[in-house]
Amino acid sequence: MSLQTALEIDESELILQAQRGDREAFGELVRIHRAGAINVVYRMCGDPVLAEDAAQEAFIRAWQHLPNYQPRAAFRSWLYRIAINAGLDLLRRQTARPETAASDETLERLPAGGSVEAGLERRERIERVRRAVLDLPEGSRAVLVLREYEGLSYEEIAAALEIPLGTVMSRLSYARRCLSERLQKMVEEV
């Protein structure tokens, strides 16, 4: 049995136990999917604090609706949809989208090396790419984030967002075309 299959079986067991009310099992699911849920929301909304808050809210909603979860969709896909909705809900409740630049702590995680000037250029480049993604329409942004950053397949994205496969493909194509046009010079330099 492959490692992937063993992990899937373990997770299925955790989900079953959690559905029976086992909080320990649910806590384990939270540990497993915490980073993914936070990052999906972060990529969608651009605010790490909001992302953590939304991810916590997503886990609470997931617990409340766990009896309705059907294994036909991967747990991760199901959770990510809840997380994206929670993030967008929190974002809408804010009076205006915070003009949050990537924090210094985030940018300090960039690989070291090179001159100061190169470092500044890289930071600026990262910020431009981040903003370009945040400016995409929500539907296209969600598909792009799930594909590029979480590696979900088209089918998993369709299940997560409850949209047809064709819509996944058209939104992804649109998102990539938009980003290519907007970041043309940077794309050429890569």
């Binding site: 909080r23 806590g27 936070i38 886990f59 609470i60 990262i126 790419v129 990539r176």
Partner: protein, 211 residues
């Protein structure tokens, strides 16, 4: 796959093509510089997107999990608590909602019974005359009850009683086809309203679950 890559380049990049389609795409890309350039552009974009780091400076895992547990407990306490009166009212409303279909079924059965008895009364010679005699002895009945056995409903608003009387609903056991039809339409309307309400509640519950 002779068409240019615009429609399939993303699927090719994401490994979503089947082996046969991949072979065709590879052949086309070998021969078409335009599509090769498009592929390289997409690959460069993907590399650029990967340069953006994930969220940093997050809470420690243990703290995050503990906070989820606390928020969950708090949410469940709020849900469980609440004014006992409100919960009793809610239970009563819910019971009434669940019993509504049974009540509508009984009402339908009642109307059908009255229609059948009205037909039987009509078949018995002289029965209509007897009913009119009974009605004429009580001057307090509504004018619409003159043709049959009248019933008075003093609690109902006057306009409503006039309308009900107009359609002969007070003429129990002497209903005509129109009266029965009106009654069934009314019950049908209530049933449809209950079904619509049930569907809306169901949709809201599904929407909540998905969110």
């Amino acid at each position: 796959m002779n068409a240019h890559a615009d429609s399939w380049i993303d699927a090719y990049l994401d490994g979503a093509l089947n082996p046969s389609q991949v072979r065709q795409a590879d052949t086309h890309l070998r021969e078409c510089p335009r599509c090769r350039a498009l592929l390289e552009e997409r690959q460069a974009l993907s590399a650029l997107l990967q340069e953006v780091p994930p969220a940093a400076n997050l809470k420690p895992e243990r703290q995050f999990v503990a906070e989820v547990g606390l928020r969950l407990a708090r949410r469940q306490d709020v849900a469980a608590s609440g004014d006992w009166r409100t919960s009793r009212q809610t239970s009563a409303l819910r019971a009434a909602w669940m019993l509504a279909p049974a009540a509508l079924l009984l009402a339908w059965a009642f109307v059908q019974t009255v229609l059948i008895l009205s037909t039987l009364v009509g078949l018995v010679p002289g029965a209509g005359h007897l009913l009119v005699q009974r009605a004429s002895l009580d001057p307090g009945l509504l004018a619409a009850a003159a043709a049959g056995l009248g019933v008075s409903f003093p609690a109902l608003p006057e306009v409503l009683t006039e309308w009900i009387g107009y359609f002969g609903l007070f003429n129990i056991f002497h209903w005509d086809l129109l009266t029965g039809f009106i009654a069934l339409i009314f019950i049908g309307g209530l049933s449809a309203a209950w079904l619509a309400g049930w569907w809306v509640v169901r949709q809201n519950a599904d929407g909540q679950a998905k969110r």
